[in-house]
Amino acid sequence: MRRTPRDSAESSRRMTRRGLLLGGAQIAFAGVLGLRMRHMQVDQAAEFRLMAEENRINIHLIPPSRGRIFDREGRLIAENEQTYRITMRREDAGDVEDVIGRLSALVDLRPEDVTRALEEMRTSPPFLQVTVADRVSWEAISRVAVNAPALPGVYPEVGLSRFYPQHETFAHVVGYVGPVSERDLARYEDPEPVLRIPRFQIGKVGVEAKFEEQLRGSAGAKRVEVNAVGRVMRELDRREGEAGADLQLTLDSELQDYIKARLGEESASAVVVDLEHGDVLAIASSPSYDPNKFVRGISVGDYGVLRENNHRPLASKTVQDAYPPGSTFKIVTALAALEAGLIRPDETVYCPGHMEIGSRRFHCWKRAGHGHVNLEQSLRDSCDVYYYDLALKVGIDRIAEMGRKLGLGTAPDVPMSAVTAGLMPDRDWKRRERGAEWRIGDTVNASIGQGYVLTSPLQQAIMVARVATGRSVEPRLVRSVGGLQTPSRGGTPLDIDEAHLKLIRKAMFVVSNSRRGTAYRSRIIAEDMRLAGKTGTSQVLNRVVRNQDVPWEERDHALFVNFAPYDAPRIAVSIVVEHGGGGSSTAAPIARDITLQALYKGTPPLEAYPAGDRERIKAQQERLEAERAKRAAEAGRRA
């Protein structure tokens, strides 16, 4: 149909109007797009650039090598050994099963490892390296390297792992490292990224754990460019890390090793502290375990054996176990009484073998009684009644105060795991913790180191060190960190009258050197090496039976503390033999041998021993020497 001119003109006018309107709107929208572009690309460019960089740049950490640990003479206690593992990359291997088949013809592969590796390769991106075998021998790695052309996608990798060349000797002090667990990560609020490196090892217990920060060092990093699925495209740059600081401990490997041999199969602990700087020369717990097993991942079976052993090889008894100190605690009670000015050393107490306090009868260990005893005799004979009498005069609070002065009741500051504070009870403590009033009987028990009082072998050594020096000696376990000496911990003079200390030291000398002393049989006769000690027997069960007649678990703990040489004290020693019976019969001989070994810095001459013992000691020395040589040879073979 033909349009009228009017219709046509009207229609074209309207279309022009609307066309212009719509065209304008379109161009306006394009303007909006332009503005949006400008906003994103100019105003927010920096933000988006950063996000793009975060997208593409991954930081791969290079694990630092862990600081080594040495003994005081520079002998290695913990080092890093190279370990080899075999990895595979699916995309390079082609037929994975076929390559694994050829690989297993060359090296022993555990079937479960192969299954796991195949599964991992199937589920992860093809460019990811998957471990097929860990901790393979150098020979196996060499075979893989030589046959590389036949093994596409198989790569030998080198890593570092902790190794303890002295095996059992330092297990309880140094502890061990292990792979980072979820629990470890949870401990930190913001875990360092280095902890997320697969197979990265951190200290789990002992010095390894306490000095984790210093030993770890700082990780290096390389920045790599990755694509959207995580494949590494290229390395952008790399910053080398810093190795961890080396530690030098105050321990003496020779002495520690000797003690380990000397304690033998006993469930026992021994601490030797140097009096000048508080250096812990040896701190050994027996039996022990090989920390290398834990580093490699201990098998359930091996772990079960360790856990079920009633001699508790896993426990670090020197610091984490607290025992009633028994008669060794009489040193504290006596000093407290002297300091309080309540007794004179020559004052005597009559011991009929028991004492009535309130309605209860407290026995002396010697049923027949000691008769009249003064201070020195009370320690020499370890008369209990004398101390019951002191306890009544002095009261628990002053005893506890003296105990604390000598280092009891607080955890010694050593970088070991689960260090116990022991227990130095007083009235406040009992009210607070037990909700009961302190009774006089409690004081009586405490005065002879029974009842509530608990001390660890290390605390005992510190107590003796403080008595021997009059200074607030603290244990020092680490001599230097990264070459930096740690301060001496010889301490400052304690506020104890030197005359009173002298009385105690003299009495301890008498214990070991007077014919009637409880430790006379374990004396040293070398003039300038003589020791001064105190025996202790702490009851495990309250009963009156001979130790030989009860099962091992119910026998008394044998304790001995001493310092030596008497004239110019250099070391303090503390021994606990669990369920060892009597302090004088079991603990004292061990303490003497260790003391001599420490003072002579090696096998002591037989002349230091009483003439009657020399034959026996000679045999013992030879036996221990042979044992240590055998162990050393074994360790050499294992390494």
């Binding site: 046509s8 609307r18 379109q26 949006r36 994103m40 996000m51």
Partner: protein
């Protein structure tokens, strides 16, 4: 017949028509396509394969199709409009019944030598049909309800068919382009007010249908809308695309990171980098300068169309050119809004730049129509 209106003498004929082509427009289109080749070359990591070269071939084919279309007198096209529309509609129905399913949507018919996407064809066919309809319809009837319903059916039939494929992007384009064609043709304002109100209600209904058995959109379409509204809710899932696209865009800065230096696209963080999100690669590698330049090219194409339409005294030609310009605008506006995070990701390619055969060919034919209208305009 309206071609009788023309004074045939003044309309060029034979090979002289070539001289009367709108050459600046051809140059503009080629420039846009070249931007596409460059980016396809870049996203392939500096290689002509697999995208840049086929795209060039298609553009060549498209240019040829454009010339052929341009040579045919516009009145012939007008007379064919209804037929073309019906064919396109039939193909849409066919694709619904026999089409191949790809990427979760039923979109094309495999013709052996190429995949025909009828929805692309429909974009032009609808514009042609509406232009022809309003050319035929006397002005005074344009706003009468009965004459409004007819074009509505023309629009809604293909819209519904593409929506069920499902191809939300094309459905939106068809509906918007059709509606605006009606607006251009002079339909009364009041209708549009009603439609806008109804659309509001419709969107509300669509959201209301979510989770019910008569759900109007597929789940993934709902999710796209969700993540568009708040990409941070799903930064590694569906929101990942939007987030990565925006990062690519923004990190370009003023002048970009350099040709083939865009980390987002080169390292595959950018999704669909050769099709829907190709603009982000451009913006990343050539920055604001590059992105804005392409926008300017598009606006110039648009301006050429508007000017050509308003100069043309033939009603069909004017409407057709405006409609094609509008379709072109909707393509790039929706795509750019989408990749800049202004609109949900609906799968609309960037015209002449995104890799894709049907869209390129159909657009070039459409510009052939513009050229034809230009050559055969009444003088």
């Amino acid at each position: 017949m309206s071609y009788l209106e023309y004074t045939v003498k003044t309309v060029p004929s034979g090979w002289r028509k070539v001289l009367y082509l709108n050459w600046p427009l051809i140059i503009l289109l080629t420039a846009v396509a070249c931007v596409g080749f460059l980016m396809l070359y870049s996203v392939a990591g500096g290689a002509l394969q697999p995208w840049a070269e086929p795209q060039m071939e298609r553009f060549g084919l498209g240019l040829a199709a454009m010339f052929i279309t341009a040579m045919v007198p516009i009145w012939l096209w007008r007379n064919l409009s209804a037929l073309i529309y019906l064919v396109a509609l039939a193909l849409l129905v066919a694709v619904e019944l026999f089409g191949a399913v790809g990427m979760g949507a039923q979109r094309w018919i495999d013709l052996g030598f190429m995949r025909l996407q009828p929805s692309e064809l429909m974009k032009i066919a609808l514009v042609m049909a509406l232009a022809a309809y309003y050319d035929w319809l006397p002005m005074k009837r344009v706003s009468r309800p009965i004459w409004v319903i007819a074009p509505l059916i023309l629009i809604l039939a293909p819209t519904f068919l593409t929506l069920t494929q499902p191809d939300l992007g094309t459905a939106i384009l068809l509906m918007t382009a059709g509606g605006l064609m009606m607006f251009l043709a002079g339909v009364h304002w009041a209708y549009f007010a009603v439609v806008i109100a109804a659309a509001g209600g419709g969107i509300y209904t669509v959201f209301l249908s979510r989770g019910t058995p008569w759900q109007l959109l597929k789940d993934y379409q709902f999710r796209r809308i969700d993540t568009f509204l708040d990409p941070s809710t799903d930064p590694l899932g569906a929101g990942y695309h939007i987030t990565q696209a925006k990062i690519a865009m923004g990190s370009g800065g003023w002048t970009g990171r350099g040709f083939m230096q865009g980390t987002q696209s080169r390292l595959n963080f950018l999704p669909e980098k050769h099709t829907d999100f190709i603009f982000n690669t451009l913006a990343e590698e050539f920055g604001f300068v590059g992105g804005f330049s392409l926008l300017v090219l598009y606006v110039l194409v648009l301006l050429f169309c508007i000017v050509a339409a308003l100069q043309n005294r033939d009603r069909y030609s004017s409407l057709l050119i405006l409609g094609i310009g509008l379709t072109f605008f909707l393509f790039f506006a929706v795509n750019m809004s989408m990749v800049m995070g202004l609109a949900p990701v609906v799968g609309v390619p960037l015209p002449l730049v995104s890799y894709g055969g049907s869209a390129m060919l159909v657009l070039m034919i459409a510009f052939g129509l513009v050229q034809s209208a230009h050559i055969h305009r009444p003088r």
